[in-house]
Symmetry: C2
Subunit: 144 residues, 2 copies
DNA sequence: TCCTTTATTGAGAATGCTTGCAACAAGGAA
DNA sequence: TTCCTTGTTGCAAGCATTCTCAATAAAGGA
């Protein structure tokens, strides 16, 4: 069912081994519509009466992000959220007061960035941006 | 000397108490041109042969950020950097490979955001954005 | 100058996440 | 099907940061 198998195939094609832990984690975040933290993934794992170490959850989620199968973003309160289905650059608007997250869709990004004032149209009153990526030097050198 | 006193006065005017710890921390980051981590602030404190608890360093730095006297940004490797002198929105470009940080000056922000492709002119190959601020709801309600 | 109020500090526990390493197991080769 | 190589896992320790709470000390008032 769903895109789980696509995800797993993609990983296998990249040379990753498919373990029961990875299958379960991929299934969980692929089926859950919203973004979730590593701890939330753990809770669902526990409900299924199996056990995966939290380090493995983090490692698997980060691996999915590395391979463009999921995205990861800082919620600003010391916690990190993960979600599937986003590729390429995308933007999360995080409220530092209530923690709400608004996602700017891939189609809207260009329009969104055209003018900084547009932020207010998104009800976002910014105080800080971070853009994570590779600098010129690093994107020139070969990185696995 | 320098803007230390301006900073301290601003804090006092806001109702904060001026403690020796706060004076020392403000002096350190106001005099140090570059951005620094809480741990780097601690090292300088130790060189001055006094001692401040690390929790106090974090609390003071965060207080400066809250009051617009400093900025704070995620270096992407689990560490956080602080720097004085920036007000309003500003952008840090963080390389996930080498950790280098490029700052987009306040004057350049609008131009920078005009088109997402401009990122490449900054030698930034993006994979993720976060914009931290207040959502509409929270910026309407009164927040201290 | 001394008192009182209340913000601030230090200490240590707690949280969220990462890392090092030995044991284990996926997946290709024989 | 069995074996071997090497990627993965679990565990425990480590790191950066935050939180709780009792003790302390700014700063204003008497």
């Amino acid at each position: 069912m769903s895109h789980c198998h696509t995800y797993l195939k993609k990983l296998r094609d990249q040379g990753y081994r498919i373990t029961p832990q990875r299958e379960m984690i991929v299934q969980i975040i692929a089926h859950c519509g919203k973004h979730m933290s590593a701890e939330e993934v753990m809770e669902i794992v526990r409900e299924k009466s199996s056990s995966i170490n939290i380090a493995t959850v983090y490692r698997t989620l980060d691996m999915l992000v590395e391979n463009g199968l999921a995205s990861k973003f800082d919620l600003g309160n010391g916690k990190t959220a993960y979600a599937t289905g986003k590729h390429g650059p995308h933007i999360h608007l995080v409220c530092k007061h209530c923690g709400s997250v608004t996602e700017v869709s891939e189609n809207d990004i260009s329009a969104f960035l055209e003018r900084i004032e547009d932020l207010y149209d998104f009800d976002c009153h910014p105080y800080h941006f971070s853009i994570h990526g590779l600098c010129g030097e690093c994107s020139n050198s070969e990185i696995s």
